[in-house]
Point group: C2
């Protein structure tokens, strides 16, 4: 069996979990990269909170690490948008290292950042490596949905709803989600806000491509989520009054030339007691279908998919290969290296 | 575009729906087979209740139809068990016609009927055709479950629960499911009954194979479902008293050498007001996962998968190819012929 050599690129909360999972699945960590001075120079196991030393020191020079370790893949968790990811992905490709990332936009950046994606695709092909975006949305918002749709005779509408808890990410994110503003202030902010495209657009892009449909029109709207009762916020250390904003929902809609309307509603707001992340899809047409994952552990399934995708990315043809082009994701009962094909 | 030529093999309730779906997806029906004298000699559209004539007459000689129509595939819905299916599948293969069937055991007959399956595999290879079993269980009990498991780091147990309503299939099936017997009579019947393996065994066989695990031990048990209140039975035209049997549950369990325990509980009983077929899977390990399809339209999704699988079966290599070896099932937005590869 071949052992996979990986570089941990970014040592935050997601890649700390992914590091443990990779070690448990027989991956050799041959390098770790971070920018923060509190992390650089320390052992990866210590920085990632694994409770043991890995013998791998966290470094801050990506070019040195990528050029010297003969890594099969870089596992990147540093940013969400392609504008921030471009340099990291380019660097991996130019050093001949495959890369997989949980950057949300990278799931299907062909529609939101077509130029950057085409450039990276070109660089990756020239260097014979694969670049791929994955994460929670890979299975839960695209592949699982596509598989349910495979049991339809005729689709009219596909409507997905997912949520995340604003309170899980600290006071800054709570403020970004406009928690405790008035609806009037929210509307004023929204009218002037220069927000990047929501990730729902990338999700629906992957889904439409996977279904073999073509986009006729698309639109994105945003609505405030308003407290129907007083809602405590842990991260802000206060309670939001009834009638004030507790977050918002981005609604992306795509109409296909084939007459299918796909909608994805992504809500980030304060949760009430007992609420959890959900994944809830409804299909109309023949027949009506429903898929529900109650209480999804989004953070963990982000890491599991990042790790379980590694063999697929190594095996894939060169280029920026989005997930609808990869084999369906599988459980990895054995060390990840056993799933790598000769020549992969 | 190539047009697919199909033989409708058996014109019961499932293949009547499948016939309409095939016609709507651009399939040419080149023959129809039934045994019942009330069906033979009539137009397929009339027998299937389509509301229009198809120009295809229902015939009763499979050898004549299979040898003379240059069909790409036979779509078979006539029986559930391999013992009944063997002759039908052999005949298709020997006439060089691919076959897809909703016979439940055919989903993964390698464990329950290994000899017959190996023989059919041999005959199919010799004649260059593919034989495959599909149906509701393809996506809902195997592929969808496998995709959720792909988001796990480590699986300990996988537990599935599905149900069907005894009252949907007439008085004979209700009697077979022991409706309105006492628990004592049920236990006595169960101790002496010479029942074939439950289809849960085939489902778990496909799932274990798909996960790349190997079977260490398996067992099947059956428990009565007992009325907790008075339950009316439409098919029997009576009401079952509290404490009496309203059906039963087959529980199949597989323990793998890799330490995973998979359980599938299939319940066939009288439903209470408002109940519907469910598909409910729970996974323990890291992390805990849940998949729920409330109110599954099992009959329709049996037909949609039968029809949507047609291109996969035509494209597949020769042999008895079970679904975990096929590409993941996809929605067919366009005529089925567009999904057939050259040489398929």
């Amino acid at each position: 069996m071949r052992r996979i050599k990986a570089v941990v690129y970014g040592v935050g909360s997601m890649n700390s979990i992914a590091t443990r999972m990779m070690l448990e699945k027989g991956v050799d960590i041959v390098g770790a990269l971070a920018r923060s001075p509190e992390k650089v120079g320390r052992d990866l196991g210590e920085v990632a909170g694994l409770g043991f030393e890995t013998g791998v020191t966290v470094e801050d020079d990506p070019d040195r690490v990528l050029s010297s370790r003969q890594a099969d893949i870089a596992v990147i968790a540093v940013a969400s948008y392609m504008s921030d990811m471009y340099e990291h992905l380019r660097r991996c490709a130019e050093h001949g290292v495959n890369a997989v990332t949980i950057a949300e936009e990278a799931l299907y950046p062909w529609n939101s950042s077509p130029m950057a994606t085409a450039e990276l695709d070109h660089i990756a092909r020239r260097h014979g490596v694969t670049l791929t975006g994955t994460g929670h949305q890979d299975v839960y918002w695209v592949n699982l949905v596509s598989m349910v749709l495979a049991t339809a005779h005729r689709i009219e509408t596909v409507t997905g709803r997912a949520s995340w808890n604003v309170d899980d990410f600290g006071p800054e994110v709570a403020k970004d989600q406009r928690v405790d503003t008035s609806v009037e202030d929210f509307d004023r902010w929204l009218a002037e806000a220069d927000r990047p495209p929501s990730f729902g657009r990338n999700t629906l892009g992957a889904l439409v491509e996977d279904l073999g449909l073509s986009v006729a029109a698309q639109e994105s709207t945003t609505r405030p989520e308003v407290a129907k009762q007083r809602v405590p916020s842990k991260s802000l250390g206060m309670t939001v009054d009834t009638g004030r904003v507790i977050g918002f929902t981005d609604v992306d809609t795509v109409r296909s030339h084939e007459g299918v309307t796909l909608t994805f509603e992504m809500t980030g707001r304060l949760y009430l007691e007992g609420e959890a992340d959900i994944n809830d899809w409804t299909v109309t047409g023949e027949p009506e279908l429903r898929l529900l994952n109650p209480a999804v552990p989004t953070g963990v399934t982000t890491c599991t998919q990042l790790v379980n995708r590694i063999p697929d990315v190594i095996n894939a043809p060169p280029g920026f290969i989005t997930i609808e082009k990869l084999p369906r994701l599988r459980y990895r009962a054995f060390p990840l290296g056993t799933y790598v094909r000769d020549g992969g």
